[in-house]
């Protein structure tokens, strides 16, 4: 048994933290206000190796492990949640399926740019009518002579406005069984017939831009079908044990940032002649924040470690994400509350963190979907 991180993991974490504090943090408020994550943020994350994690060295990555991804995502989110979402979604939602299933030539075209922070990727699954229900998709892919023709609408695509490459989920019209129908298509620019809708303003992580997509007889080559005929279904990619750890890491970073900000404010703010941190009501609340961040981190580290040991468990990842997402909102709220009136001011850091803390309960599967998945395994005696 060993609860400590490995030496290399600690070094990675330290280097990344320094870099995030130097480059990302000073711009975080501006990123939120302008609604854009600048290129130099991604370049910096590429430089310290975050964007090369689990990309094989032959494609310009550093083959880093899931524990590094988790602690890394926390560090990025702690300094700039929007950047964590943009980079994390590129790497986890787009990059990982590409690494696992794309062809050699697709990987050669895409992965080096991803690792260098020059290419943003997107995962386009959710539709205006539904999200988690993969079997009832409106977007279709019909075989043509050259490949496939895709038609339909996608909603709330993270990195949608900038992504030079996208994984688009569509229902294969020729599939034999409904369960096999939802397939993934790797689309690379230029994509005639793909139209990106206007930016959709969001509650939090506003620098991580979101838009809808419309596909009108968008013709893609045959090899766009990720992994070919035998390639993975969209559901199996959504069910990867790695997937929930993006939002888990993000939530932990936001929770940690809210905790630190709350402590800083509570030490400075004076009432009745003493700092408010000296009141039990305030420092007990901070203790609860600390414990929930710590618990979320332990759960997520365990899930990441299981993946690195080749025993990834969806339930363990799922419960880490579930706990972390609830924790992040709790910390966001507590931080605002400790700030009192000043926490309600638009443009303040507490206000921004509260907004940034809300989305994990929804993105990457709602808390309810994760509970149902956990319960399914618990009831089946598998967990």
């Amino acid at each position: 048994m060993d609860f400590d991180l490995k030496k290399e993991q600690k070094e990675f974490q330290r280097a990344l933290r320094a870099s995030c504090e130097r480059v990302l943090k000073p711009k975080a408020a501006e990123v939120d206000r302008q609604g854009l994550v600048p290129e130099e943020n991604l370049k910096e994350l590429a430089r310290v190796g975050y964007l090369g994690l689990f990309i094989p060295e032959s494609f310009g990555g550093n083959n880093g492990d899931m524990v590094c991804f988790l602690v890394g995502t926390e560090e990025v989110a702690r300094c700039c949640p929007s950047t964590a979402l943009v980079a994390g979604a590129s790497l986890m939602r787009f990059g990982l399926p590409t690494i696992l299933y794309a062809s050699q030539s697709q990987k050669e075209r895409i992965l080096p740019g991803l690792a260098r922070g020059e290419l943003r990727g997107a995962w386009a699954h959710t539709e205006p009518q539904g999200g988690c229900d993969t079997e009832n998709l409106g977007t279709t892919a019909s075989p043509t002579e050259q490949g496939f023709s895709l038609s339909g609408k996608k909603a709330y695509v993270l990195n949608g406005p900038e992504a030079a490459a996208l994984l688009v989920v569509a229902r294969l019209t020729t599939a034999r069984a409904p369960g096999e129908a939802a397939k993934v298509f790797l689309m690379e620019e230029p994509c005639p017939g793909l139209e990106r809708g206007p930016l959709v303003p969001t509650v939090g992580a506003r620098g991580a831009r979101v838009c809808g997509l419309e596909l009108r007889d968008c013709v893609v080559p045959r090899d766009s079908l990720l992994g070919g005929e035998q390639g993975p279904s969209a559901g199996s990619i959504e069910a990867l044990p790695q997937a929930p750890l993006l939002m888990a890491g993000y939530s932990i970073g936001v929770g940690q940032a809210a905790l630190e900000l709350a402590i800083q404010h509570a030490r400075q703010r004076m009432t009745f002649g003493r700092p408010i941190v000296s009141y039990q009501e305030v420092h007990f609340r901070i203790a609860d924040m600390y414990v929930s961040v710590d618990v979320a981190r332990q759960l997520a580290l365990k899930a990441a470690w299981l993946i690195d040991s080749g025993r990834g468990s969806r339930v363990e990842s799922s419960l880490a994400k579930l706990f972390a997402s609830e924790m992040s909102l709790l910390c966001g709220q507590s931080c605002v509350h400790i700030h009192g009136g000043s926490g309600l001011l638009e443009g303040g850091e507490a206000d921004r963190l509260l907004r940034d803390s809300r989305m994990p309960l929804v993105l990457g599967g709602t808390a309810e979907m994760h509970r149902l998945g956990i319960a399914r395994d618990v009831l089946a005696g598998k967990a």
């Binding site: 400590d4 000296s278 203790a287 419960l319 509970r371 319960a375 009831l379």
Partner: protein
């Protein structure tokens, strides 16, 4: 990072689990109803070797590491051992036995540990007083040094194993003017003149674990029964014991969570309402998911402290307080949901969830309330010097 147990540990865990299911769990209901300590279960645990697992072999233990000792506590409860019994086990093994192991002279260890490990003698820790709970430095029990012995006067309160203990580690002030730094620890034997335990207190839960007051009236304690040095009784001995109380003593509470979760799964699969097992209702599924999250988190926090101890990291108060706070609070939520899933059957004594619900209540009180844990955590993460006392 490596969160696996060794193969040896896994095998041992299975053995304890089977032992608990077969030999110990069936005895729980009756001893709880009667509110009596179960000597039969105790003797079985002694002969299985569970009473001094981490003591060195020459003191009658198995020389195991702390993680293994926690695995035993967890597996006992997971197998359905009564919460009162496991509480007595914890107070005996850790609060008394381990405290002697950590601070005792070799004569003291040789005299007490083998008997404790064999279950011949039962151990207790006398720290809390009627007027001094978590503010343990405010103890009023005093020990006055005479020529060849100490004389102890005072009273202790809520002492687990008090009525049945043969060996008690007792905290008393040898120099009240020095407050916390004037507190010392003593080993008191049941037969010492001037010592008597009070009557068992009637409790909400953990009823099979006898609890009482301790009374010291000119109790004569030989000089060689001073445990550690004078003045170390609070800062070293009691704080060390509290760290146990806040960590490894939680192992049975964590095992009890798994026990409840298993009961709920099988009940939810069997119980049919509106033509389907209630397991098919989302509300029940969500409760089960919450219970699973609580259990997994509690387990990690508890083993983290055990692992820290095995690494020889001195006093892990932050990790211990975190584990204690979370396990105590979340454990009550889990027990609440377990009763809720069982509905009316969860409310009657024929079903073990009723007892487990009452037993779960202690974890956020004993060994320092949740509020004390928050104060400790706040003080440690922010270097506060005003989390206790007047300034609040």
């Amino acid at each position: 990072m490596d969160l696996d147990f060794s193969q040896e540990q896994r095998i041992f865990r299975e053995q304890v689990l089977n032992f608990s299911r077969k030999e110990i769990a069936p005895l729980g209901e009756e001893s709880d109803l009667k509110g009596e300590f179960c000597w039969e279960a105790w003797r079985k645990m002694a002969s299985f070797g569970l009473l001094g697992l981490h003591y060195p072999e020459h003191y009658g233990g198995a020389g195991s590491d702390i993680v293994t000792a926690c695995l035993a506590g967890e597996a006992l409860a997971e197998g359905g051992a009564d919460g009162g019994l496991t509480l007595s086990w914890g107070a005996h093994t850790y609060l008394c036995g381990d405290t002697i192991l950590q601070h005792g002279t070799s004569e003291q260890k040789a005299r007490y540990l083998p008997k404790l490990a064999a279950g011949e003698w039962i151990g207790a820790l006398g720290l809390t007083e009627p007027e001094a709970g978590s503010d343990a430095s405010a103890v009023r029990t005093v020990a006055v040094r005479k020529k060849d012995h100490y004389v102890i006067n005072g009273a202790k309160m809520f002492i687990t194993n008090g009525p049945i203990a043969d060996v008690l580690v007792v905290i008393a002030s040898t120099d009240p003017s020095k407050k916390a730094l004037g507190i010392s620890a003593f080993i008191v034997e049941r037969g010492f003149e001037g010592f008597r335990p009070g009557k068992p207190l009637k409790k909400m839960g953990c009823r099979a674990s006898p609890t009482s007051e301790l009374v010291f009236e000119d109790c004569r304690v030989p000089l060689e029964n001073l445990l550690g040095q004078e003045g170390e009784g609070f800062v070293k001995v009691a704080l060390g014991a509290l760290e146990w109380d806040r960590s490894s003593l939680m192992a049975p509470f964590v095992g009890g969570m798994r026990y409840l979760l298993d009961l709920c799964v099988s009940y939810a699969n069997q119980r049919v309402q509106f033509d389907r097992p209630i397991a098919r209702f989302q509300a029940i599924q969500h409760k089960l998911a919450e219970m699973k999250v609580i259990y997994e988190a509690s387990r990690l926090l508890m083993y983290r402290v055990a692992w820290c101890k095995d690494q020889g990291r001195p006093l892990n108060h932050l990790e211990a307080a975190t584990a204690k706070l979370f396990v105590g609070e979340a454990g009550m939520r889990l027990a609440h949901e377990a009763v809720q899933i069982h509905g009316g059957y969860g409310y009657i004594q024929e079903y073990p969830v009723e007892r487990a619900f009452r037993n779960a209540r202690l974890a956020s009180i004993g060994g320092g309330t949740s509020e004390i844990q928050r104060a400790i955590i706040a003080r440690m993460i922010m270097n506060l010097d005003y989390s206790h006392g007047r300034a609040i």
